[in-house]
Amino acid sequence: MYGNIEYARVLTKTAAFTALIAIGGWISITIPFLPLVPFTLQTLFLLLAAIVMKRYAVLPAALYLLLGICNFPVFHNGTAGIGVLLGPTGGYIIGFIPAAIIAGFFFEKSWKYSGITGVVAATIAIYTIGIAWLSVSTGMPVFAAIMIGAIPFIPGDILKSTAALMIGKRIP
């Protein structure tokens, strides 16, 4: 054996989950009347990355952002570039990094409810940063930003979080 096999696996898993998060962004369902905030499967793959990679989950999130900044069309609907991050929905993408750290932390513990706590905390982290940035960048009042950028997505996020926990149980 040459180097550290576990580390090589972390490396390739990072690449795999980065690609999955990017593909999740292309499966984008835009809710009618709300074109500003796209509903994608990215957070599902992000949560799965946290379930599988534990503390290393921050690596795919960061690499995903790096790919996007380098102008590879990996963001939702095939957009790319620093402009998307600075645009109204950029906060949701930047929120992936703290979300991955938080979820990874909780999935590493084996407390009774650590899985659910991790998923909820990660989703709240994405919402907080996303809404804050939506409100700052568009000059929208915080209340309106919550109405547009959080409330319509809560059912979808509950669905995605449940799916992530269920799929996570079936991954060896």
Binding site: A16, T18, L20
Partner: protein, 262 residues
Amino acid sequence: MQEIMQYIPGNGIFHRVHPLTKLLFTVIIVILAVLTSDLLLLAFLLVAVFLAAWAGGLGRGLTEQIPLLLVLGVMLVLFTVLTMHGGEVLFTLIPAGIPLIGGGLPVTTGALLFGTILSLRFAVMLFAFQLLVVSTKPGELVTTLRQLKMPIDYTLMFLIALRFIPTLQREGIRISEAQLARGYAPGDGMMGKVRGLKPVILPLILNALGKADTLGLTIDMRGYRRGRADTGTLSFGALDGVVILAALALAAIVAATNIILV
């Protein structure tokens, strides 16, 4: 959804030059695109990159991207119009009669112009990157980045992720077609779309993890991470000089036009 950023075998100009030359060419184009905010100059850059691609026999791959770019351009303009205000107000998207948010989201000329410039800039950068990725073997890119003394772990991570995107995308399509062939009918509309995703995602993730595992083992066995694998070296030729000179000439033209305009 079409596949993006895949190596296409060929023997054009861009296939024969050193990857470092192409990297330099791309970086120069991207810097020019970022620094230019004039509509005509950006259009000129777009045409120049397109001609370069055509000369290298990669024109077809680029024309395939045009519908995608048009959609992205429209979206970018829309985003800018929604978030930026400047110049004259043409009309407002939300009529003044609606409570709470009425009379909001004005469409302005400044935002329209800025959005067009943004989408042109985006098109130039995407084409430049595509020229680099489409004409360079992933192995050659690894060799080049190693010659530049980049840390091998991050180089591999970056390139494998890029390589995985089209592979996993194709796999997702294949799995969903396999489920359809077995008679899985998720139904129509948005809920049908959501239901249809479930039996696709689990196999997709398990397959991706299996691939990642195998690849990790392979990387380890070949000693890539210790730097023991011999990836060989690549040398420069006369064609490299031509490409770099062309890029520099382009930079000079853009700089000169900028100075004249100012």
